[in-house]
C-alpha cells in the first residue's frame, strides 16, 4: 500500500507541518523578537543592545498613560455601542428573517467590501464641518453653533463602532439563530409576558454570541489607529497611533515594542475582568 498507509500515525503531522511551521516562524518567533526588542536600549544611529532594560515599560506607561487609557476607553465604549445597536437587528433577522435571512446577513457584511480606509474617509466626509449631519445637529442645538464632530472623540468612537459592527452582529446572529423556538414558547407559557420570556430565556441563551462579539470587537478596536488618525485630532490619539509613529517614523523600536506588549497586557486584563463579570452573570442567569 501507499506511503500514507505505512505511516498512518505520521499523516496528521505531515498535514499540519507546513501551516503550523508558517505560524511558528512568522507569528510566534516574531513575538519573541518583539519581546527581545522591547528590552533593548540605544538608538537607530548607534544600534540597539539587549540590556534587560525594563525601564522602557515604565517610561512608556509614564509618558503615554493617557493614550493607553483612551484606547481601552474608546474600544470599550465602541463595543457597548456596537452591542446595543446590533442586538435588535440580529434578533430581528434571526426570528423574523424567514427565507430572507441570508440576504439580510449579506446586507450587514456588504458595506465591509468597501476598503476599510475608504469607508473611514466617507465618515470624514459625512462628519465634516459643513455636512448635513453637523448642520442638522447645530440647528437642533444638540451641537453649538461652532460645534463640530470631525476631530473629536465622538467621531473617533463613532468610526470605531461602525467599522467593527459586523464582528458584533454576526456572532450575535449565530447564537440567536440557534435558539430553539420551542424554548421561548414554553417560557412565554410559563412567564406569561413576552418581555420576561426574553429576559429569562432568549437573552441568557444568546450570551455566547454576546461574549464572542464583544471580544471580536474590543480586541481589534483597542489596537486601532486608523479611526483616530482620520477622524480625530492628536488629542484623540490612541496607543496604536503612538506605536505606529514610534516604529515607522521615529524608529524608536524598543519603546514601540514595549508599548505593544503593554497594549496586549491591557487587553488581557480587560478581557479577564469581563470574563469574570459575564461568567458570574451567566451562572446566576441559569440558576434563577
Amino acid at each position: 500500500m501507499g506511503f500514507f498507509h505505512r505511516h498512518r500515525g505520521l499523516t496528521p503531522y505531515l498535514l499540519l507541518a507546513p501551516g503550523i511551521l508558517w505560524l511558528a516562524v512568522f507569528f510566534l518567533v516574531p513575538l519573541g523578537f518583539l519581546a527581545y526588542q522591547s528590552l533593548q536600549s540605544g538608538n537607530i544611529d548607534f544600534g540597539y543592545a539587549f540590556t534587560w532594560s525594563w525601564g522602557n515599560y515604565w517610561t512608556a506607561i509614564r509618558d503615554y498613560r493617557d493614550q493607553f487609557i483612551r484606547s481601552l476607553e474608546y474600544a470599550g465604549i465602541a463595543t457597548v455601542l456596537a452591542l446595543a445597536i446590533s442586538y435588535p437587528v440580529a434578533y430581528w433577522i434571526a426570528f423574523r428573517g424567514g427565507r430572507w435571512k441570508n440576504l439580510l446577513l449579506l446586507g450587514i457584511v456588504a458595506p465591509f467590501f468597501v476598503t476599510y480606509l475608504i469607508r473611514t474617509l466617507a465618515w470624514q466626509t459625512i462628519l465634516s464641518d459643513d455636512s448635513l449631519v453637523v448642520r442638522t445637529l447645530q440647528n437642533l442645538h444638540l451641537l453649538g453653533a461652532n460645534g463640530r464632530l470631525l476631530n473629536t472623540s465622538v467621531a473617533v468612537v463613532a468610526g470605531i463602532t461602525y467599522n467593527f459592527l459586523p464582528f458584533m452582529a454576526l456572532p450575535l446572529y449565530v447564537s440567536l439563530e440557534q435558539i430553539d423556538g420551542r424554548l421561548i414558547e414554553a417560557a412565554e407559557d410559563l412567564y406569561a409576558s413576552k418581555f420576561h420570556a426574553f429576559l429569562r430565556v432568549t437573552l441568557p441563551l444568546s450570551l455566547p454570541g454576546v461574549v464572542a462579539g464583544t471580544l471580536l470587537t474590543f480586541i481589534p478596536a483597542a489596537g486601532d489607529f486608523i479611526n483616530a488618525q482620520l477622524l480625530g485630532s492628536p488629542n484623540n490619539h490612541m496607543i496604536g497611533n503612538v506605536i505606529q509613529s514610534k516604529f515607522l517614523e521615529l524608529t524608536d523600536y524598543p519603546a514601540a515594542a514595549s508599548m505593544s506588549f503593554i497594549l496586549m497586557a491591557g487587553i488581557l486584563v480587560a478581557v479577564a475582568i469581563y470574563a469574570r463579570i459575564v461568567g458570574t452573570e451567566q451562572l446566576t442567569g441559569t440558576a434563577v
Partner: protein, 282 residues
C-alpha cells in the same frame, strides 16, 4: 370574586403584553431598516463621490456629475501599480493560506494526535491578537534579520494572518462531513489519495472556495500589517492612506466602488443560489 380579581389583573398585563408585541412587531422592523440605512450611508457617499467633479484637490463637497473619474480610473500616478500589487498579493496569499489552512483543518478534524490542544491555540492566537501587534512583531523579525522589505515580506505577512481564517472556515464544513463516504470509497479499493481527490475534495470544495474568497477579501483590504511590512511598496490601501493626507482623488472612490460591486455581485449570486436550492428542497 375570583372573576373580578382576574378581570382587574388581565387588562394591565394585556396592555403591557400588547405594547411589547407592538414593539416587537413594528418598531423592531423600523429600527432594523434604519440600521441598514446607517450601514449603507458611507457606502452611498463613496459611490456618489466617485462621480463628483471636485474643484480643488479635496473631494469633500459635491460639485457636479462627471463620468471622468470612471473613464480615467488610473488617471492618478501610482494607483494602477498599487491595485495590481494588491491583486497579486491577494491572489497568492489566498491560495497558499487556503492550502495550508485546509491541511491543518483536515488534520484537526480527522486525526487524533498529540498536540491538538496546542495546535488549536496556535490557530486561535493570531485571530485574537491586535493587527498592530502582528504587524509590529513581523517588522521586528525582518529588521533583526536584515530582510529587505517589499513584495515577499507583504506576501509572508498576508499568508500568516490568513491561515487561521482558512482553518476556521474549512473546519466548520468538515465537522458535519459523513466519513462513511470515504470509507465506502476505500472499501471499493481506492487508496487514500484517490479517495481524497474523488470524494473528500468535491465535498469540501465549497468550503475551500469560501476560504479562498475570505482570504482574498481580507488580504486586499489589509492596511495595518501591510503598512508595517511593505518597505517602499504600495498596495491599494496604502495608496489610499497616502492620498488621504493630501486629499484623496475621486479615483479612490471609483476603485472602492468597483471592489464593492464585484464582491457584492459574487456574494449575491451565492446567496440567491442557496435560496433557490433551499426553496427547491422544501
Amino acid at each position: 370574586m375570583t372573576s373580578v380579581a382576574v378581570e382587574q389583573r388581565t387588562p394591565r398585563r394585556n396592555t403591557l403584553a400588547a405594547a411589547f408585541a407592538f414593539v416587537r412587531r413594528h418598531v423592531l422592523t423600523v429600527y432594523s431598516l434604519l440600521f441598514f440605512a446607517y450601514l449603507l450611508l458611507p457606502i452611498a457617499v463613496v459611490v456618489v463621490f466617485s462621480f463628483n467633479h471636485p474643484a480643488g484637490k479635496f473631494n469633500y463637497v459635491w460639485q457636479g456629475f462627471t463620468w471622468n473619474n470612471w473613464l480615467h480610473w488610473d488617471g492618478v500616478p501610482g494607483i494602477r501599480s498599487a491595485i495590481i500589487l494588491s491583486l497579486e498579493i491577494a491572489l497568492f496569499a489566498s491560495i497558499v493560506a487556503t492550502a495550508l489552512g485546509t491541511a491543518i483543518a483536515l488534520a484537526l478534524v480527522r486525526y487524533g494526535f498529540r498536540g491538538r490542544g496546542t495546535t488549536n491555540i496556535l490557530i486561535f492566537l493570531p485571530l485574537s491578537t491586535p493587527e498592530i501587534v502582528l504587524g509590529a512583531s513581523l517588522l521586528t523579525l525582518f529588521l533583526n534579520l536584515n530582510v529587505i522589505f517589499g513584495f515577499w515580506t507583504i506576501l509572508i505577512a498576508h499568508i500568516m494572518f490568513c491561515i487561521s481564517f482558512a482553518v476556521v472556515t474549512v473546519k466548520a464544513r468538515l465537522v458535519g462531513f459523513d466519513r462513511h463516504l470515504e470509507e465506502a470509497a476505500m472499501d471499493l479499493g481506492a487508496n487514500e489519495w484517490t479517495t481524497f481527490r474523488k470524494v473528500t475534495l468535491p465535498l469540501i470544495g465549497p468550503a475551500i472556495l469560501a476560504a479562498l474568497l475570505l482570504c482574498f477579501a481580507i488580504s486586499i483590504d489589509d492596511f495595518v500589517v501591510t503598512y508595517f511590512n511593505s518597505g517602499s511598496k504600495v498596495t491599494f490601501p496604502l495608496f489610499v492612506w497616502g492620498a488621504a493626507r493630501i486629499g484623496a482623488p475621486p479615483q479612490v472612490n471609483v476603485i472602492g466602488t468597483a471592489i464593492f460591486v464585484i464582491a457584492l455581485a459574487a456574494m449575491l449570486a451565492n446567496v440567491l443560489f442557496q435560496m433557490r436550492r433551499a426553496k427547491g428542497a422544501s
